[in-house]
Symmetry: C2
Subunit: 211 residues, 2 copies
Protein backbone atom coordinates (compact mmCIF):
# COMPACT_ATOMS: atom_id res chain seq x y z
CA UNK A 1 0.00 0.00 0.00
CA UNK A 2 0.98 3.61 -0.45
CA UNK A 3 1.50 5.05 3.02
CA UNK A 4 2.35 8.60 4.11
CA UNK A 5 3.76 9.34 7.56
CA UNK A 6 3.53 12.86 9.01
CA UNK A 7 6.21 13.48 11.63
CA UNK A 8 8.28 10.63 10.23
CA UNK A 9 11.50 11.48 12.06
CA UNK A 10 10.03 11.28 15.57
CA UNK A 11 10.17 8.16 17.76
CA UNK A 12 6.83 6.85 16.54
CA UNK A 13 7.25 8.00 12.95
CA UNK A 14 10.60 6.27 12.61
CA UNK A 15 9.26 2.99 14.04
CA UNK A 16 6.26 3.16 11.69
CA UNK A 17 8.48 3.96 8.72
CA UNK A 18 10.77 1.00 9.36
CA UNK A 19 7.90 -1.42 10.03
CA UNK A 20 6.10 -0.34 6.85
CA UNK A 21 9.27 -0.62 4.74
CA UNK A 22 9.97 -4.09 6.21
CA UNK A 23 6.50 -5.17 5.12
CA UNK A 24 7.12 -3.99 1.55
CA UNK A 25 4.88 -0.93 1.50
CA UNK A 26 5.52 2.18 -0.57
CA UNK A 27 6.28 4.69 2.19
CA UNK A 28 6.73 8.46 2.08
CA UNK A 29 7.77 10.54 5.07
CA UNK A 30 6.52 14.10 5.56
CA UNK A 31 9.35 15.98 7.25
CA UNK A 32 10.15 19.59 8.00
CA UNK A 33 13.87 19.23 7.35
CA UNK A 34 15.20 17.14 4.47
CA UNK A 35 18.68 16.65 5.94
CA UNK A 36 17.23 15.38 9.22
CA UNK A 37 14.81 13.20 7.24
CA UNK A 38 17.66 11.52 5.35
CA UNK A 39 19.72 11.20 8.54
CA UNK A 40 16.92 9.44 10.44
CA UNK A 41 15.23 7.43 7.68
CA UNK A 42 18.13 6.77 5.30
CA UNK A 43 19.48 8.46 2.20
CA UNK A 44 17.08 6.52 -0.04
CA UNK A 45 13.95 7.54 1.91
CA UNK A 46 11.08 9.08 -0.08
CA UNK A 47 10.42 12.43 1.56
CA UNK A 48 8.01 15.33 1.18
CA UNK A 49 9.40 18.44 2.86
CA UNK A 50 6.39 20.32 4.19
CA UNK A 51 5.16 22.09 7.29
CA UNK A 52 2.33 19.99 8.78
CA UNK A 53 -0.07 22.96 8.63
CA UNK A 54 0.58 23.37 4.89
CA UNK A 55 -0.46 19.80 4.06
CA UNK A 56 -3.63 19.68 1.93
CA UNK A 57 -6.25 17.00 1.45
CA UNK A 58 -5.48 16.95 -2.28
CA UNK A 59 -1.85 16.18 -1.46
CA UNK A 60 -2.93 13.26 0.74
CA UNK A 61 -5.25 11.75 -1.90
CA UNK A 62 -2.26 10.02 -3.50
CA UNK A 63 -1.96 7.75 -0.44
CA UNK A 64 -4.05 4.79 0.71
CA UNK A 65 -3.29 5.61 4.32
CA UNK A 66 -1.72 8.62 6.03
CA UNK A 67 -0.47 8.32 9.61
CA UNK A 68 -0.29 11.43 11.76
CA UNK A 69 2.71 10.70 13.98
CA UNK A 70 3.39 14.39 14.64
CA UNK A 71 4.30 14.75 18.32
CA UNK A 72 5.39 17.97 19.97
CA UNK A 73 6.08 17.33 23.65
CA UNK A 74 6.93 20.93 24.61
CA UNK A 75 3.96 22.52 22.80
CA UNK A 76 1.40 19.69 22.93
CA UNK A 77 -1.40 22.02 21.82
CA UNK A 78 0.22 21.71 18.39
CA UNK A 79 -0.64 17.98 18.38
CA UNK A 80 -4.33 18.92 18.61
CA UNK A 81 -3.92 21.66 16.03
CA UNK A 82 -2.25 19.34 13.49
CA UNK A 83 -5.01 16.78 14.05
CA UNK A 84 -7.79 19.34 13.50
CA UNK A 85 -5.98 20.70 10.44
CA UNK A 86 -5.73 17.21 8.93
CA UNK A 87 -9.39 16.44 9.76
CA UNK A 88 -10.45 19.67 8.06
CA UNK A 89 -8.32 18.86 5.01
CA UNK A 90 -9.60 15.29 4.59
CA UNK A 91 -13.35 15.65 5.21
CA UNK A 92 -15.15 13.77 2.41
CA UNK A 93 -11.84 12.43 1.04
CA UNK A 94 -11.17 8.72 0.58
CA UNK A 95 -7.73 8.56 2.19
CA UNK A 96 -7.66 6.59 5.44
CA UNK A 97 -6.29 8.72 8.29
CA UNK A 98 -4.48 7.11 11.25
CA UNK A 99 -3.84 9.12 14.42
CA UNK A 100 -1.39 8.26 17.21
CA UNK A 101 -2.63 9.22 20.69
CA UNK A 102 -1.10 8.81 24.12
CA UNK A 103 -2.49 6.99 27.17
CA UNK A 104 -4.26 10.11 28.56
CA UNK A 105 -7.45 9.52 26.57
CA UNK A 106 -7.63 5.83 27.51
CA UNK A 107 -10.24 4.91 30.12
CA UNK A 108 -9.70 3.72 33.68
CA UNK A 109 -11.81 0.92 35.11
CA UNK A 110 -14.39 3.43 36.40
CA UNK A 111 -14.82 4.90 32.92
CA UNK A 112 -12.97 8.15 33.62
CA UNK A 113 -9.98 9.16 31.53
CA UNK A 114 -6.46 8.09 32.53
CA UNK A 115 -5.77 11.86 32.27
CA UNK A 116 -8.11 12.37 35.24
CA UNK A 117 -5.72 10.24 37.30
CA UNK A 118 -2.53 11.65 35.80
CA UNK A 119 -3.51 15.22 36.67
CA UNK A 120 -3.61 14.30 40.38
CA UNK A 121 0.06 13.27 40.45
CA UNK A 122 2.39 15.59 42.40
CA UNK A 123 4.52 16.73 39.46
CA UNK A 124 1.66 16.74 36.93
CA UNK A 125 1.80 20.46 36.11
CA UNK A 126 5.10 19.98 34.28
CA UNK A 127 3.81 17.46 31.73
CA UNK A 128 0.04 16.98 32.02
CA UNK A 129 -0.82 19.32 29.13
CA UNK A 130 0.11 16.58 26.66
CA UNK A 131 -2.39 13.97 27.97
CA UNK A 132 -4.93 16.79 28.50
CA UNK A 133 -4.77 17.77 24.84
CA UNK A 134 -4.83 14.06 24.00
CA UNK A 135 -8.32 13.83 25.52
CA UNK A 136 -9.45 16.70 23.32
CA UNK A 137 -7.90 15.00 20.28
CA UNK A 138 -10.03 11.92 20.98
CA UNK A 139 -13.15 14.07 21.53
CA UNK A 140 -12.62 15.73 18.13
CA UNK A 141 -12.12 12.35 16.44
CA UNK A 142 -15.24 10.87 18.07
CA UNK A 143 -17.28 13.75 16.64
CA UNK A 144 -15.87 13.19 13.14
CA UNK A 145 -18.17 11.28 10.77
CA UNK A 146 -16.87 12.36 7.35
CA UNK A 147 -13.22 11.21 7.59
CA UNK A 148 -12.14 7.56 7.37
CA UNK A 149 -10.19 7.70 10.63
CA UNK A 150 -8.66 5.24 13.07
CA UNK A 151 -6.70 6.12 16.22
CA UNK A 152 -4.40 4.12 18.48
CA UNK A 153 -3.47 4.98 22.06
CA UNK A 154 -0.09 4.08 23.56
CA UNK A 155 0.26 3.08 27.23
CA UNK A 156 1.47 5.04 30.29
CA UNK A 157 5.06 4.10 29.55
CA UNK A 158 5.70 4.57 25.86
CA UNK A 159 9.37 4.16 25.01
CA UNK A 160 11.62 3.47 22.04
CA UNK A 161 12.09 -0.25 21.65
CA UNK A 162 11.85 -3.22 19.28
CA UNK A 163 8.81 -5.14 18.07
CA UNK A 164 8.44 -8.19 20.31
CA UNK A 165 4.97 -9.49 21.20
CA UNK A 166 1.91 -7.32 21.72
CA UNK A 167 -1.74 -7.53 22.72
CA UNK A 168 -4.56 -5.32 21.45
CA UNK A 169 -7.21 -3.63 23.55
CA UNK A 170 -10.01 -1.18 22.88
CA UNK A 171 -10.58 1.89 25.07
CA UNK A 172 -9.17 0.90 28.46
CA UNK A 173 -5.65 1.17 29.89
CA UNK A 174 -3.87 -2.19 29.65
CA UNK A 175 -1.25 -3.94 31.74
CA UNK A 176 1.55 -6.13 30.43
CA UNK A 177 2.44 -9.46 32.05
CA UNK A 178 4.59 -7.58 34.60
CA UNK A 179 1.49 -5.71 35.79
CA UNK A 180 2.63 -2.36 34.36
CA UNK A 181 1.16 -0.26 31.56
CA UNK A 182 3.78 -0.06 28.79
CA UNK A 183 4.30 -0.45 25.07
CA UNK A 184 7.35 -0.01 22.87
CA UNK A 185 7.42 2.05 19.68
CA UNK A 186 8.13 -1.17 17.77
CA UNK A 187 5.08 -2.94 19.15
CA UNK A 188 2.86 0.08 18.53
CA UNK A 189 4.15 0.26 14.95
CA UNK A 190 3.41 -3.45 14.52
CA UNK A 191 -0.16 -2.97 15.71
CA UNK A 192 -0.67 0.03 13.43
CA UNK A 193 0.59 -1.85 10.38
CA UNK A 194 -1.57 -4.90 11.24
CA UNK A 195 -4.61 -2.61 11.38
CA UNK A 196 -3.66 -0.92 8.11
CA UNK A 197 -3.37 -4.31 6.38
CA UNK A 198 -6.45 -5.87 8.01
CA UNK A 199 -8.81 -3.14 9.25
CA UNK A 200 -10.85 -3.93 12.35
CA UNK A 201 -11.22 -0.48 13.91
CA UNK A 202 -12.84 1.88 11.41
CA UNK A 203 -13.89 5.25 12.91
CA UNK A 204 -12.69 3.98 16.27
CA UNK A 205 -9.80 4.17 18.71
CA UNK A 206 -7.99 1.08 19.96
CA UNK A 207 -4.85 0.43 22.00
CA UNK A 208 -1.89 -1.92 22.24
CA UNK A 209 0.24 -3.23 25.12
CA UNK A 210 3.49 -5.12 25.35
CA UNK A 211 2.64 -8.75 26.10
Amino acid sequence: MKIGIIGATGMTGKALYNEAINRGHDVTGFVRNETRGKDVLGSDAQLIVEDAFAITGTQLDQFDVVIDAFANHTEPEQNLDVLTHLIHQTRHHDVRMFFILGAGPLLQEDGSYVYDFLKTLPDAAAWVDEPRYGVTELQVLLSTRDVNWTAISAQNEYTEGPKTEYVLGKDHLMHASDGKSHVTSGNLAGAVMDEIEQPQFKMARFTVSDK
Copy 2:
Protein backbone atom coordinates in the same frame (compact mmCIF):
# COMPACT_ATOMS: atom_id res chain seq x y z
CA MET B 1 -12.82 49.32 20.98
CA LYS B 2 -11.56 47.88 17.73
CA ILE B 3 -13.72 44.84 17.01
CA GLY B 4 -13.51 42.32 14.17
CA ILE B 5 -16.47 40.09 13.29
CA ILE B 6 -15.93 36.88 11.31
CA GLY B 7 -19.07 35.81 9.45
CA ALA B 8 -20.42 39.35 9.69
CA THR B 9 -23.23 38.89 7.16
CA GLY B 10 -24.96 36.00 8.96
CA MET B 11 -27.87 36.45 11.38
CA THR B 12 -25.60 36.71 14.43
CA GLY B 13 -22.84 38.63 12.69
CA LYS B 14 -25.25 41.29 11.44
CA ALA B 15 -26.83 41.74 14.90
CA LEU B 16 -23.36 42.01 16.48
CA TYR B 17 -22.21 44.47 13.83
CA ASN B 18 -25.20 46.76 14.36
CA GLU B 19 -25.02 46.57 18.17
CA ALA B 20 -21.29 47.36 18.13
CA ILE B 21 -21.74 50.28 15.70
CA ASN B 22 -24.61 51.64 17.82
CA ARG B 23 -22.27 51.61 20.84
CA GLY B 24 -19.66 53.60 18.94
CA HIS B 25 -17.04 50.88 18.45
CA ASP B 26 -14.68 50.70 15.49
CA VAL B 27 -16.02 47.59 13.74
CA THR B 28 -14.67 45.58 10.81
CA GLY B 29 -16.53 42.70 9.18
CA PHE B 30 -14.70 39.72 7.72
CA VAL B 31 -16.75 38.59 4.73
CA ARG B 32 -16.26 36.23 1.82
CA ASN B 33 -18.09 38.42 -0.68
CA GLU B 34 -17.67 42.20 -0.69
CA THR B 35 -20.93 42.92 -2.56
CA ARG B 36 -22.93 40.87 -0.09
CA GLY B 37 -21.04 42.52 2.76
CA LYS B 38 -22.02 46.00 1.58
CA ASP B 39 -25.60 44.84 0.91
CA VAL B 40 -26.06 43.46 4.42
CA LEU B 41 -23.94 45.86 6.50
CA GLY B 42 -24.21 49.08 4.47
CA SER B 43 -22.10 50.73 1.80
CA ASP B 44 -19.93 52.44 4.43
CA ALA B 45 -19.09 49.20 6.30
CA GLN B 46 -15.41 48.48 6.94
CA LEU B 47 -14.80 45.05 5.40
CA ILE B 48 -11.95 42.58 5.04
CA VAL B 49 -12.67 40.14 2.22
CA GLU B 50 -11.10 36.84 3.31
CA ASP B 51 -11.86 33.15 3.52
CA ALA B 52 -12.14 32.24 7.22
CA PHE B 53 -9.42 29.57 6.86
CA ALA B 54 -6.99 32.15 5.45
CA ILE B 55 -7.28 34.46 8.48
CA THR B 56 -4.00 34.67 10.42
CA GLY B 57 -3.23 35.53 14.02
CA THR B 58 -1.07 38.44 12.84
CA GLN B 59 -4.06 39.83 10.95
CA LEU B 60 -6.19 39.65 14.11
CA ASP B 61 -3.60 41.40 16.31
CA GLN B 62 -4.90 44.79 15.09
CA PHE B 63 -8.17 44.18 16.98
CA ASP B 64 -8.98 44.32 20.69
CA VAL B 65 -11.65 41.65 20.25
CA VAL B 66 -12.52 39.31 17.37
CA ILE B 67 -15.91 37.57 17.36
CA ASP B 68 -16.25 34.29 15.47
CA ALA B 69 -19.86 34.43 14.24
CA PHE B 70 -19.18 32.05 11.35
CA ALA B 71 -22.16 29.67 11.13
CA ASN B 72 -22.63 27.05 8.43
CA HIS B 73 -25.91 25.22 9.05
CA THR B 74 -25.59 22.75 6.15
CA GLU B 75 -21.94 21.81 6.86
CA PRO B 76 -21.72 22.38 10.62
CA GLU B 77 -18.36 20.58 10.81
CA GLN B 78 -17.00 23.78 9.26
CA ASN B 79 -18.03 25.67 12.41
CA LEU B 80 -15.68 23.44 14.41
CA ASP B 81 -12.96 23.72 11.79
CA VAL B 82 -13.09 27.54 11.74
CA LEU B 83 -12.95 27.56 15.55
CA THR B 84 -9.90 25.26 15.67
CA HIS B 85 -8.21 27.28 12.91
CA LEU B 86 -8.73 30.51 14.85
CA ILE B 87 -7.53 28.91 18.10
CA HIS B 88 -4.39 27.70 16.34
CA GLN B 89 -3.80 31.14 14.85
CA THR B 90 -4.23 33.05 18.12
CA ARG B 91 -2.36 30.87 20.63
CA HIS B 92 -0.12 33.17 22.69
CA HIS B 93 -1.60 36.28 21.01
CA ASP B 94 -3.18 39.11 23.01
CA VAL B 95 -6.36 39.51 20.97
CA ARG B 96 -9.52 38.50 22.87
CA MET B 97 -11.45 35.83 20.94
CA PHE B 98 -15.23 35.52 21.30
CA PHE B 99 -17.03 32.41 20.03
CA ILE B 100 -20.77 32.02 19.38
CA LEU B 101 -22.12 28.55 20.23
CA GLY B 102 -25.60 27.06 20.03
CA ALA B 103 -27.69 25.51 22.80
CA GLY B 104 -26.37 21.95 22.17
CA PRO B 105 -23.36 22.36 24.49
CA LEU B 106 -25.47 23.87 27.30
CA LEU B 107 -26.18 21.56 30.23
CA GLN B 108 -29.50 20.06 31.30
CA GLU B 109 -30.46 19.91 34.99
CA ASP B 110 -28.86 16.45 35.30
CA GLY B 111 -25.53 17.75 33.98
CA SER B 112 -25.75 16.09 30.57
CA TYR B 113 -25.59 18.15 27.40
CA VAL B 114 -28.75 19.55 25.82
CA TYR B 115 -27.42 17.75 22.72
CA ASP B 116 -27.98 14.43 24.54
CA PHE B 117 -31.68 15.30 24.68
CA LEU B 118 -31.87 16.79 21.19
CA LYS B 119 -30.46 13.64 19.60
CA THR B 120 -33.41 11.61 20.96
CA LEU B 121 -35.99 13.70 19.08
CA PRO B 122 -37.75 11.91 16.19
CA ASP B 123 -36.41 14.11 13.36
CA ALA B 124 -32.97 14.67 14.94
CA ALA B 125 -30.94 13.05 12.15
CA ALA B 126 -31.74 15.94 9.81
CA TRP B 127 -30.24 18.69 12.01
CA VAL B 128 -28.48 17.21 15.05
CA ASP B 129 -24.98 17.44 13.55
CA GLU B 130 -24.91 21.15 14.32
CA PRO B 131 -25.46 20.82 18.10
CA ARG B 132 -23.22 17.72 18.04
CA TYR B 133 -20.30 19.68 16.63
CA GLY B 134 -21.21 22.47 19.06
CA VAL B 135 -20.37 20.13 21.95
CA THR B 136 -16.97 19.45 20.39
CA GLU B 137 -16.41 23.18 19.92
CA LEU B 138 -16.96 23.69 23.66
CA GLN B 139 -14.66 20.73 24.48
CA VAL B 140 -11.88 22.28 22.38
CA LEU B 141 -12.36 25.68 24.04
CA LEU B 142 -12.33 24.18 27.54
CA SER B 143 -8.95 22.58 26.76
CA THR B 144 -7.52 25.89 25.52
CA ARG B 145 -5.31 27.73 28.03
CA ASP B 146 -3.20 29.93 25.77
CA VAL B 147 -5.94 31.95 24.01
CA ASN B 148 -7.90 34.75 25.71
CA TRP B 149 -11.28 33.24 24.81
CA THR B 150 -14.89 33.68 25.84
CA ALA B 151 -17.90 31.80 24.43
CA ILE B 152 -21.63 32.41 24.56
CA SER B 153 -24.34 29.82 23.96
CA ALA B 154 -27.71 30.73 22.46
CA GLN B 155 -30.94 28.97 23.55
CA ASN B 156 -32.98 26.20 21.90
CA GLU B 157 -34.92 28.74 19.85
CA TYR B 158 -32.48 31.24 18.43
CA THR B 159 -34.16 33.59 15.97
CA GLU B 160 -33.63 36.94 14.34
CA GLY B 161 -35.16 39.65 16.47
CA PRO B 162 -34.55 42.96 18.26
CA LYS B 163 -32.74 43.68 21.49
CA THR B 164 -35.37 43.84 24.24
CA GLU B 165 -34.56 42.59 27.75
CA TYR B 166 -32.27 39.67 28.52
CA VAL B 167 -30.95 37.63 31.42
CA LEU B 168 -27.51 36.00 31.67
CA GLY B 169 -26.78 32.44 32.76
CA LYS B 170 -23.68 30.28 32.95
CA ASP B 171 -23.67 26.71 31.64
CA HIS B 172 -27.29 25.57 31.93
CA LEU B 173 -30.20 25.87 29.51
CA MET B 174 -32.44 28.78 30.51
CA HIS B 175 -36.14 29.48 30.23
CA ALA B 176 -37.72 32.85 29.53
CA SER B 177 -40.75 34.12 31.47
CA ASP B 178 -43.02 32.14 29.11
CA GLY B 179 -41.28 28.91 30.21
CA LYS B 180 -39.58 28.35 26.86
CA SER B 181 -35.88 28.40 25.95
CA HIS B 182 -35.33 31.24 23.49
CA VAL B 183 -33.17 34.22 22.72
CA THR B 184 -33.20 36.73 19.88
CA SER B 185 -30.13 37.68 17.86
CA GLY B 186 -30.51 41.23 19.19
CA ASN B 187 -30.46 40.11 22.83
CA LEU B 188 -27.50 37.79 22.22
CA ALA B 189 -25.64 40.67 20.54
CA GLY B 190 -26.44 42.89 23.52
CA ALA B 191 -25.03 40.31 25.94
CA VAL B 192 -21.88 39.85 23.83
CA MET B 193 -21.22 43.59 23.69
CA ASP B 194 -21.86 43.96 27.45
CA GLU B 195 -19.27 41.23 28.06
CA ILE B 196 -16.80 42.85 25.66
CA GLU B 197 -17.13 46.19 27.45
CA GLN B 198 -17.15 44.75 30.99
CA PRO B 199 -15.55 41.28 31.00
CA GLN B 200 -16.90 38.79 33.56
CA PHE B 201 -16.37 35.49 31.73
CA LYS B 202 -12.70 35.12 30.81
CA MET B 203 -11.77 31.65 29.54
CA ALA B 204 -15.36 30.59 30.12
CA ARG B 205 -18.67 30.01 28.39
CA PHE B 206 -21.87 31.75 29.47
CA THR B 207 -25.37 32.03 28.05
CA VAL B 208 -28.23 34.51 27.61
CA SER B 209 -32.01 34.19 27.50
CA ASP B 210 -34.83 36.53 26.54
CA LYS B 211 -36.38 37.86 29.77
